[in-house]
C-alpha cells in the first residue's frame, strides 16, 4: 500500500472510532433525557415533601405565607401565620458539621415579655446531615434537639433599646445552654451555630416590627 493510502486508511479508522463512541454516547444521552423527564416531577415533589414535613413538625398549626419569604446568603426565612397577627418564623440554615453541611430549620417566635421583645426558639428540625453514624447523627434526634426549645435572645429591652449583641448559647448546664453530644463536639457546635445564625437573622425594631434586612 502506498504511504498516502496507508495514511488515509488510518484516518478513516480513527474517524470510525470517534463516530462509534459518539453514537453510543448520543443514544445514552437520549435515554437519560427520557428518564430525567419521567422523574423530574416526582423528584421535585419529594424535595417539597421533606421540607413541608419539617415545617409541619415545627409549626403544626401554621400556614406558610408565600410572599413573606426572605433569602440571604447564610439563611432563608419563612413566615408562618398561626393566627391573626401571631407568627412563627422558620429559618433555614446550613452550618458546617463534621462531615459536611447540616441542613436544618429553626422555628423562632418574637414575644412581648413585660415590655421587652424576646426571640424564642420553638423548635429545631434537621432535614439532612452527613455526620458519623451513632455519634454525630444523634444531633438529629429528639433528646438533643429538644434542648433548644426555649433558647432565647433579648431583642429590645424594656426601654425600647435594641440589643446589638449577637446571640450566645453555652455548652454545659444553666440557662440558655445545651449539653453536647459525647464524642461529637464538632457536630454539636455546628447545630449551635445554626441556631445562633437563625436567631441573629431576625431584626426587631423598637416597636416590635420584625424584618430580615
Amino acid at each position: 500500500m502506498t504511504e498516502k493510502a496507508k495514511e488515509k486508511g488510518n484516518i478513516n479508522y480513527i474517524i470510525k472510532l470517534g463516530l462509534t463512541l459518539f453514537i453510543i454516547t448520543a443514544i445514552t444521552a437520549v435515554m437519560l433525557a427520557g428518564v430525567h423527564e419521567l422523574t423530574k416531577d416526582a423528584i421535585a415533589g419529594q424535595e417539597l415533601d421533606a421540607f413541608g414535613q419539617a415545617l409541619k413538625t415545627l409549626v403544626p398549626d401554621g400556614a406558610l405565607l408565600e410572599d413573606r419569604t426572605y433569602t440571604a446568603e447564610t439563611f432563608k426565612a419563612y413566615t408562618l401565620e398561626r393566627s391573626e397577627g401571631v407568627y412563627t418564623y422558620c429559618i433555614e440554615v446550613a452550618p458546617e458539621g463534621y462531615g459536611g453541611p447540616i441542613n436544618m430549620i429553626v422555628g423562632v417566635e418574637v414575644v412581648n415579655e413585660d415590655g421587652k421583645f424576646v426571640k424564642r426558639v420553638t423548635g429545631v428540625a434537621i432535614t439532612s446531615l452527613s455526620e458519623t453514624p451513632g455519634l454525630g447523627t444523634k444531633a438529629a434526634e429528639e433528646p438533643f434537639l429538644s434542648q433548644f426549645k426555649g433558647i432565647y435572645h433579648l431583642a429590645v429591652d424594656a426601654n425600647g433599646k435594641i440589643n446589638e449583641e449577637p446571640s450566645a448559647i453555652k455548652i454545659g448546664g444553666g440557662d440558655n445552654a445545651v449539653q453536647a453530644i459525647t464524642g461529637a463536639t464538632v457536630t454539636t457546635k455546628g447545630v449551635i451555630k445554626g441556631v445562633r445564625t437563625a436567631l441573629d437573622s431576625i431584626k426587631v425594631s423598637a416597636s416590635g416590627e420584625v424584618s430580615f434586612e
Binding site: 463512541l21 453510543i24 445514552t28 416526582a42 452527613s130 458519623t132 453514624p133 451513632g134
Partner: protein, 218 residues
C-alpha cells in the same frame, strides 16, 4: 441448565465478587453500617450490573477494541445516572442514606470487571445470568457484613425501618461503635474472608475423607 447453575454457584460462593475477587471494596466498607443501606446498595449495584452486562454483550461485536473501556464506562454511567434519578424520585430515603455511593457505582470495579471479563465475550443470556449471579453474590456478602456490623456495632437490627429492633437490652449490651467505622469494616471483611476459606477447607477435607474410604472399599 448445568451451565447456569455453575454460574450461580460461582457468583455467590466460588467467585464471590467481594470475598474472592475482592472487588467493590469502597462501596462494601462504606455502606454496610446498616442492613437497610447494605441491601439498598446491593440491589442498586446488581440492577446496574445486569443492565450493563446485557447491553455490552449486545454491542460486543460493534464496539471496536481501542475504545472498548470508554464505551463500557459510558453505558455503565448511563445506567447509574438512571438508577440515581429513579431512587431520588421514588425511594428518597434510600437515596439519602446511600448518598454519594450511588454515583460511585460507576467506578465499582465489579461492573467494569464483569464487562471486560465476561459480557464482552459471551452471549446476551449468559451475560445477563452473570450479572444476576454476581449481583446476588454481592448482595449476599453485603447482607452478612451489615448484619454483623449493625448488631454488634450499633445494637440495632433493621434500623431505619418500621421493624427496627433495639438489642441493647436496656443498656446492658454496649455496642462496639468501632465496628461502624472504616476500621470495623476492614475487620469484619477480613474475618468473613477467613471464615469462607475455613468453610471451604472443611468441605475439602470432608470430601477427600469420603473419597479415601470409598477407595479402600474398592
Amino acid at each position: 441448565m448445568r451451565e447456569t447453575l455453575k454460574q450461580f454457584k460461582d457468583g455467590i460462593w466460588n467467585q464471590n465478587p467481594i470475598m474472592v475477587l475482592v472487588l467493590g471494596m469502597c462501596a462494601t466498607l462504606a455502606t454496610t453500617t446498616s442492613i437497610v443501606n447494605g441491601i439498598g446498595m446491593g440491589i442498586s449495584t446488581a440492577i446496574v450490573l445486569i443492565c450493563s452486562n446485557i447491553v455490552i454483550s449486545l454491542l460486543r461485536k460493534v464496539i471496536p477494541n481501542q475504545i472498548r473501556i470508554a464505551s463500557y464506562i459510558v453505558v455503565i454511567a448511563g445506567f447509574v445516572s438512571a438508577v440515581d434519578m429513579l431512587l431520588k424520585a421514588y425511594l428518597p430515603d434510600i437515596s439519602e442514606a446511600l448518598g454519594i455511593f450511588i454515583p460511585l457505582i460507576v467506578v465499582n470495579c465489579i461492573i467494569l470487571a464483569r464487562a471486560e471479563a465476561f459480557a464482552s465475550k459471551n452471549g446476551v443470556f449468559r451475560s445477563g445470568i452473570d450479572g444476576l449471579a454476581m449481583g446476588l453474590g454481592f448482595i449476599f456478602t453485603l447482607l452478612l457484613m451489615s448484619i454483623i456490623r449493625e448488631i454488634l456495632g450499633n445494637g440495632t437490627l433493621l434500623s431505619g425501618t418500621p421493624l427496627e429492633l433495639n438489642l441493647t437490652f436496656g443498656g446492658k449490651f454496649e455496642p462496639a461503635s468501632l465496628l461502624i467505622r472504616p476500621v470495623g469494616g476492614f475487620l469484619t471483611l477480613g474475618f468473613l474472608l477467613a471464615a469462607r476459606q475455613k468453610i471451604n477447607m472443611l468441605r475439602d477435607k470432608k470430601s477427600s475423607k469420603t473419597k479415601e474410604s470409598e477407595g479402600h472399599r474398592a
